[in-house]
């Protein structure tokens, strides 16, 4: 078993719980030992960097300093979230490139009796570990139920293949790592031209029209290629494309219903794990139809209450169209 220092990031415990659950389910099969960094803090996402420079880098570097203390032979930090991965990598990279930044950050870290030597850790994304350390042959050998008959749009988003300080990816704009992984699982990966286009990032909260257009492009692209699913490697991308799909549809009067799931969830299915253990059912756009194509049924997650559909409209009298009357009879 190879041991890695693991930085989950805030989303894995909340909005991207399905990513976390599916990762836990597949890591045993893959022989991954993920040692969580004790008492890690938020990386600041894309917000802190735009407010204060030294505090933003100190916030990120507290995690790197804690990871070094815990290192025990492993020097590699794995982050499953793109923004976390980039922030950790960025802090390490810029503190090396600009030693004054590293000095100031370390002065600040001293207030907490911490220290980080820039360049002493390797910061890598989970997909990179699976492709380059575990290897596709190994992954292929663990497949019990090949995902034949399902068409998947492989979607990486921005911050994994770019800016790519350590040149780990096959291409910055059209890398094929995720495609090859999906093929190894038996799924059909479409050659998705938008695979590293932006999901909108934090724009749903700032400039909704900007965000909805970026989301629309991706949904439209996946729809054009008749993808059953869009697979992502990032909690933010999943959130924007899944949770804001309904609002985007309303904004453009479209009706896309593209399920957005994490690549680890598909890996779990191919390894024969129970879909319930893989976080299926947590997505807002249902995967039911897509997964029925490979003969799987998706349960509701524990604790989730299904709202009973109202048989007829109640409450205030509202004007209705004849078609509505028919539907509610």
């Amino acid at each position: 078993m190879t041991s890695y220092l693991f930085y989950p990031g805030c989303s894995m415990e909340t909005s991207a719980k399905a990513y976390y659950e599916s990762l836990i389910a597949v890591k045993k099969t893959l022989g991954l030992d993920l040692v969580e960094i004790d008492d890690w803090n938020c990386c600041g996402a894309t917000e802190y960097l735009g407010i204060n420079l030294i505090p933003a880098y100190a916030l990120i570097s507290r995690n790197l300093a804690l990871a070094t203390q815990q290192a025990n032979g492993s020097r590699t930090v794995v982050a499953p979230c793109s923004a976390c991965y980039l922030n950790l990598a960025k802090a390490d990279h810029y503190m090396l490139e600009r030693p004054e930044l590293g000095e100031k950050v370390n002065l600040a870290l001293q207030a907490g009796n911490l220290f980080y030597k820039p360049g002493s850790l390797e910061i890598r994304h989970l997909l990179d570990i699976l492709i380059n350390d575990v290897g596709l042959e190994e992954i292929k050998s663990k497949v019990k139920k090949p995902l034949r008959g399902i068409k998947v749009a492989p979607y990486l988003g921005c911050m994994v293949p770019r800016p790519d300080y350590k040149k780990r990816w096959s291409d910055h704009e059209h890398p094929d790592e995720l495609d090859r992984l999906l093929s190894a699982l038996g799924a059909e990966a479409i050659d998705f031209p938008l695979k590293t286009h932006c999901c909108g990032g934090h724009m749903p909260q700032i400039s909704p029209s900007t965000a909805f257009e970026l989301i629309r492009r991706l949904l439209h692209g996946a729809d054009l290629y008749e993808a059953d699913l869009l697979v992502t490697v990032c909690p933010m991308c999943q959130m924007n494309l899944d949770a804001f799909q309904a609002e985007t549809n309303r904004y453009f009067h479209t009706n896309y219903k593209i399920p957005i799931i994490f690549f680890t969830q598909l890996m779990g299915l191919a390894f024969g794990e129970d879909p319930k253990e893989l976080g299926f059912g947590r997505e807002l756009v249902s995967t039911e139809f897509a997964l029925s194509r490979i003969g799987l049924e998706i349960p509701e997650p524990d604790g989730s209450k299904v709202q009973p559909k109202r048989a007829k409209k109640t409450g205030l009298p509202m004007p209705t169209m004849p078609a509505d009357e028919e539907a509610h009879k």
Binding site: S15, D39, Y57, E100, A108, R162, G200, L214, L284
Partner: protein
Amino acid sequence: MLANTAPQTTNPLSTVINPNLRFLEEVSGATAGISRLEMCIQCGTCGGSCPSSTDMEYTPRSIFAMLRAGLREEVLSSNTPWICVSCYHCVVRCPQEVHIPDVMYTLKSMAIRAKLYKDATAPDFSMTFVDMVETYGRSFELGLATRHYLKHFPLRLPSMAPMGLGLLSKQRMEITPHRIEGINQLKAILQLAKELEAIE
């Protein structure tokens, strides 16, 4: 910030007469890493690669020309850095390898300090997010979303309610924030970091 490390080769008198003469150097010096902003050749690859440039008042290329021209107020009050989605398309295509999104981060922080931004939505979102992180050590989505949407997008709340309920019922949003154990350690680090930043 890191401004004190910028090259000190110019006649100090000139900046006394007009501090905007060295605006580009000031921005470059305050950016993490080596920004390479001085290397921009105005080719426009950045704006052409930008997925959100259509919503920007000035494309990144224009902003870099304006920096060089010392148009401080125009640059810091434009919406350009706030519309940047940090997708890094421009960075990997820029023939001069300018760290464009990092320059945008610098412009945001300068706009906040100079209070020159026109629309408070984006700065408020960042500051609310940071406020949560400084209080708990982790992000707190429900608190952030509630505070932000009530203030800036109250009209979107009805159409967003199903999504919020969906996320809650599928246990994708926590009701209470998670506070890290070392929150006091983190606060001490950030306090000192802010003091260090204030020493220019």
